[in-house]
Each structure stands twice: as C-alpha cells, then as structure tokens.
C-alpha cells in the first residue's frame, strides 16, 4: 500500500501555514503567473478547531497581497524553462510580499500541465452486518491499487466522491450505518511523473515550501460554479491561454476532469499567421477587437495594425488595416474547434446524463464576445458565462474571469476537499510499530 508520504507532508505544511496565519497562492499558467497572499484570522483561540480543518470548518481570510506577471518558459501548461519560471515566481512573490508587508514560506500551487488523466476507481468490501466504522473505511482504502497508478504516473488528486452501502448510493459519510457491502468511488487524477518534483524544485529555489498542488480546472470550477450547479451537476470549462480545462461536478464532487491542449495561444498564433504580424500585436487585436459573430457593421470597422519592428519582412505595406469581419473569420473556426473538442471529450466521458445539466465557461477565453451565442449552438441553451466569486480584499484588477483559478484556490483552501491521504492508515500495527507511532506522535507535537 502506497503511503502518500509526500501528500501528507503537504497537508501538514498547509495546516501549519494556516495556523501561522499567512499563505501564498500561486497560479502557474501558460500566459501569466499570479501570486496572492491570504491572511487568516483566528475565529477561535481553541487550537483544536484548526486541526479539524478538513471538516467543513471555515476560517475568515483576506487577500493582503497580489501580483500578476506574464509568464516566460511555460508552454501549454508545462514548464519548459525552469529558470525563467523561477525568476518570474520570484518577481511575483516579491511584489505581493511587498504589498502584504509580510513574507510567505508556504505556497499552494495550481497547475494545468502534466497531461492529467482522470480515472474513477471502485472498490468494495464485505461487512458482517455491522455498523461501518472509520477502521472499515481505512481497510477499504487500502484495497485500492494506488501503487499501480503511481508507478508510471504521479497521483495529484485522489478524492473519495461517493460511498455506497448495499444498494444505497450517494452517501457522504457512511460511518454508523449498518450494511453488508461497502463500496467507494474514487476520482483519481494522475499526472506525468516528476511534475510535482519540478514545481517543488522551482519553489525551493525561491525559498518557498510547497504546501499543496491542485489541478486548475477543478480549482477554477470551485470559484465559478454556484452552489446549485455544484449540487445538481455542471461542467466547468476553463478556457486558458495554453490549455482548456474541463471538470464535471456532481453532488459537490468532481467526477471527471480533462484537459484539451487548445487555448487562446492557438487563436493568437492563427491571427499572427493570417495577417503576418507579431505575436504581441495579434494578442492585442484579439483582446481589443476580437469576436465570434459577424455583423454587417463589422465589414466597415477597420482595425489599424501597428508593427513593432517596421523593417521586418512580415511588414505588409499594402494592408495596414484589416476589417473586423476578417479578424472574426480567423478567430471563429479555432473557437469552433475548441468547442468541438469539448463536446467530444464530454461524450467520451460517458457522463452525459450528469453533465447535460449545465456548462459554465470561465477563464480568459470566455471573455470573447459572442461566445454565449456560439456555445449555445453547440450545447443548447444550458450555457452560462461564469465569473469568479468575490474574495475579500482582492484587488479590482484581479476580479476578472481569467483569474478564476487563483480565486478558486483561495476558496478551496478555506474549505478543503477530503482526499485519500486525509484518512487514517489501517491501524493493524505490531508492538514495535506502536512504539514507533508513539515516538512519531511525540515528534509531531513537540
């Protein structure tokens, strides 16, 4: 049985950071790296309450520092130049520390790279018509083949999503109920090996401790989906710069997550190639004049192209202007492709009966005008353009939907989801191990 040593270490750091009061959150995205610092205020002096952070206890928190910078060395969510990423993290952390006037040691990261795979596992055990105890759950968890999954790849999330007892299903806490067959669904998200190690190394070079790593489609759904959507089931589409993340929620649990390796960067490079302009200029006209629905007026609206380097070969002397309809006709096919990909991957999940409820678009790409109309054609009228919730103290500039991941991280930290490593190990310990555990207990508490 894999013992999730690394993940337990992360949890310990996170709890100690919350106890200390300050925690840094970093979103390592393809277009930008965002860092916010949140400060927790103690509601209760009773320190027992802080230990029980996994149970639905919420602590008052407030954003005290925030900084965002364009990322260098990240392509499609993957770190390709570690040193550049390190430098950018250093800058972002430095600026937000200056704003907060305090330093951070523990950092929680959200990340969309590593070609994650979401898998649902099911295991069950027989009980002898007795009430379910936490020990039974531990034994059940020990039966999962985590070892096999963690050999080729690395486990990022392992969330228990659904308990079932005999023919009852949809239980959140089966302890105390009497039954014969206890089953548990686990949503396992694995990423490529050494992804966590790489990020940890980057942060260690910045004198920061990694206190947890979260998958960004899951996190941005937490900030964009409202309570009813989480309960009844909804799909959140996080349209990022490098990748587009999909996460399906049902009954407050994420049942599926996926990544499409298309994003805003593809649209920008399409524009760059179509009009022979620089990448930054293409990005500029995409964000300022981009759209998805052509109207008659758009033929007359001319967009002036400015060239950063006038002597370059791709300078087009004859056409310094393009019309907006031309721009839209470049953007729209790529967007349609992305939507088709989303549709395809949703079909592939086999969760249509869950995900048919609602589709919420968030992330920077969702700000494209006309997305609602276009997406409605694909998915029917169940589409909503989501904006992230409010977090206390967050600057106005960071409240757009492109920051839904980092805001979701702040919300998630406040109310942590139980993962497999939060449960106890089965205590079938021999006499020698008992002494060892006692020594460990002393070590932990003093």
């Amino acid at each position: 049985m894999i013992n999730f040593k690394k993940h337990k270490e992360f949890r310990k750091r996170l709890k100690s950071a919350i106890k200390k009061g300050t925690l840094g959150l970093i979103d390592i995205g393809s277009s930008k790296i965002v860092c916010i610092i949140i400060k927790f205020s103690k509601i209760d002096n009773n320190s027992k309450k802080l230990d029980q952070i996994n149970e639905t206890s919420s602590i008052a928190y407030r954003v005290v520092g925030a900084a965002t910078k364009k990322s260098i060395g990240i392509k499609k969510g993957e770190i390709i130049v570690a040193e550049e990423v390190e430098k950018t993290i250093r800058l972002v952390v430095q600026q937000s520390q200056k704003m907060a006037a305090s330093i951070i040691d523990e950092v929680v990261v959200t990340f969309s790279g590593g070609s994650p795979i979401s898998k649902n596992l099911y295991q069950d055990i027989r009980l002898e018509n007795q009430s379910v105890s936490s020990n039974d759950i531990s034994i059940l968890l020990s039966k999962y083949a985590f070892q096999a999954h963690s050999e080729q790849r690395e486990i990022l999330h392992a969330m228990p999503i659904n308990f079932s007892l005999d023919k009852k299903t949809g239980l959140t806490d089966p302890r105390g109920l009497i039954g014969q067959l206890l089953g548990l669904d686990i949503n396992l998200i694995t990423v490529q090996k050494n992804i966590i190690e790489n990020i940890d190394q980057c942060l260690r070079n910045c004198q920061l401790n990694l206190a947890g790593i979260f998958y960004s489609p899951y996190i941005s759904a937490k900030s964009s989906l409202v309570e009813d959507e989480l309960k009844l089931g909804a799909t959140c589409v996080d349209m990022g710069f490098g990748t587009t993340g999909i996460s399906i929620f049902y009954n407050h649990q994420m049942v599926f997550a996926s990544n499409i390796r298309f994003g805003g960067a593809n649209i920008t490079s399409d524009i760059m190639q179509a009009f022979q302009i620089s990448f930054n200029e293409a990005e500029r006209i995409k964000t300022l004049h981009g759209g998805l629905i052509i109207t008659n007026l758009d033929d007359n609206e001319l967009i002036e192209l400015s060239f950063a380097d006038e002597n370059k070969a791709y300078y087009n002397y004859e056409r310094p202007f393009i019309s907006r309809s031309e721009l839209i006709s470049v953007i729209r096919p790529r967007f349609e492709e992305i939507l088709e990909e989303i549709q395809f991957s949703l079909e592939k999940t086999g969760l249509e009966h869950l995900s048919s409820k609602r589709i919420v678009f968030t992330g920077g790409g969702s700000q494209m005008p006309g997305l609602y109309e276009l997406a409605s054609e694909y998915f029917g009228s169940r589409v909503r353009i989501g904006r992230p919730m409010r977090v206390q103290g967050l600057p106005q500039a960071l409240q757009g939907s492109q920051f839904s991941a980092i805001i979701g991280l702040a919300i998630e930290i406040n109310n942590l989801q139980d993962e497999v490593w939060d449960f106890d190990i089965p205590n079938s310990l021999g006499p020698g191990q008992k002494i060892k555990s006692a020594v460990n207990w002393f070590k932990d508490n003093w």
Partner: protein, 276 residues
C-alpha cells in the same frame, strides 16, 4: 519562444535580501540596536569628558550667560503701589530682593503668597510688566474699630482681622472700641449699633461682647445698656425711638436692660446695694 520577450526580474540575492528585510523582528532588532548604539556612544563621550570638570563648568557658565542673562528677561526694580510707607518698608524687608534679577528665577506666586501673609494686606497682585518692573499692587485692610483683648489694643477691619497693635486708646480716638471674646467676629453688628447711637457717641466708652452672644453698651459714667441676644438692633432702635429714650441721659439708673422684648428693666445704684 518568440512571444516570450524577457523583462527585468529580481536576482536570487536581491530576492533573498528583500525577504530577509521583510521580517519584522529583524527590523525591530536593527532599530533597537541603532538606538542602543547612539545611547552608548553618548554615554561614552560623557565618561571620557567627565574628568575635565572645569570644561563642564565652562559649558554651564556659557549656557547660563546665553540663556538666563538676557536683557529681555532681567527685572530692574520693585514698585509697590500703595501710600502706606510702613507697608512699603515691610514688604521690602520681607522680600529682600537685589536687582537686577532674572525673571525666570522669580516665583511670582510665592511672592504673592508672602505678601498676602502680612497682617495689613487684604489682597495683592504681583506681575512683571514690559519694561522690566516687578509691580506689586496691594489692597490694604481698612481699620474700622479698636479691639481690646487681654490688655492688648489692636486695630481690626470689618471682617475682624487684626491689622496691628496700638499703644493707647488715644491713638485712634476716632474708631469705636470693642471688647470681649468673640467681639471681633461681629464687627459689622457692633458698627451698626454704634451708628444707631450716633447722638451719644461722645458719651460711649465702648461695646462689650458678653459670653460670645450679646452686646453691652458702656457709657462714660459707667452706665450700661444690655442688649438682647437675638435682635439687639431692633430692641435698641425701639428703645431709642420710644418716649423712654430720655433714660439714657438721666443719671438715676445704672443699668438699662433691654433683653426682653416687651419690657425694660431699670436698675438703680443705691447706697443699699453698695453697702449691704
């Protein structure tokens, strides 16, 4: 990558230094250390120069010259605004000031207190005016009566304060005489009784307070009028305005007793009484 143009970002050393500098305890430590350093150097300097006391004295003289002995602050003379020469001499003798003097050294409240302690002064006002003169304005007590107690004759004012002693009654014949314990506390009443008897003023020797409760009027021919305890003025006024007022000038009676409201008791001095 084409799109990722680099921009300035902090180096590792600078990042670490800033993180160190953001630690609050370190800032406090540096602050306290610098304070201690400044203080200790100050102490050290004093210690080094403390053997050279003469130099310190020079400094002290210099500061004295510089701060205290300025013409703006010096007081040149004392001016006492009163006509009583004795009082002027008395105040001069008490204060013992030698001019010029520094106004910072003068405690005006203390001077006023001292002057107010003089018997003949009712109140005073002490200040230093613009031209460097210490002004003392004195309101004297006015003697209104002569008070005899245990063979001492003293002048008293309306409130009964003793102003000063006199040697003989003849010195202040113009003032009425009050005798008896507690008489000095009822000076106002005594004066009002005198006023009622203004016709007989030359014949009166004085008023006696008896038992600290009532007045007796003594005439020169040893005649005596006993006034009532509660309403001495009213009984006297009634008596004077009545047809029996001639009794004062007659020599037949020694004591006229007005102590009772509805009757006058007369006492005759006869041979029988003197010689039993």
């Amino acid at each position: 990558m084409k799109q990722t143009k680099s921009y300035p970002r902090p180096s590792k050393i600078r990042y670490r230094l800033e993180r160190v500098w953001l630690r609050l305890w370190l800032r406090k430590l540096i602050l306290y250390l610098s304070l201690i350093l400044v203080f200790s150097t100050f102490c050290l300097l004093i210690f080094v120069y403390s053997n050279d006391w003469i130099r310190l004295k020079e400094y002290k003289n210099f500061f004295n010259n510089y701060i205290f002995e300025r013409p703006e602050l010096s007081v040149s003379k004392l001016e006492i605004k009163t006509t009583n020469l004795d009082l002027i001499n008395q105040i001069n003798a008490i204060l013992k000031l030698s001019f010029p003097i520094n106004s910072i050294m003068l405690d005006i409240n203390h001077i006023q207190k001292i002057i107010n302690q003089i018997d003949s002064v009712e109140s005073s006002n002490v200040r230093i005016n613009d031209s460097g003169v210490l002004l003392v304005e004195v309101i004297e007590r006015k003697p209104v009566a002569v008070y005899r107690e245990n063979d001492d004759l003293a002048l008293i004012d309306l409130k009964g304060y003793k102003i000063n002693n006199i040697f003989s009654r003849n010195d202040r014949k113009d003032l009425p005489l009050i005798v008896g314990t507690g008489g000095n506390y009822q000076v106002k009443e005594a004066l009002e009784i005198y006023q009622l008897l203004s016709i007989y003023l030359n014949e009166i020797r004085g008023l006696i307070r008896i038992g600290e409760r009532r007045w007796d009027i003594i005439f020169k021919n040893n005649k005596r009028i006993k006034l009532s305890e509660k309403y001495p003025k009213r009984s006297l006024r009634n008596f004077l305005s009545s047809d029996k007022s001639y009794l004062i000038s007659s020599n037949d009676f020694v004591i006229i007793d007005l102590r009772f409201t509805n009757k006058i008791i007369l006492r005759k001095l006869t041979e029988d009484i003197i010689k039993p």
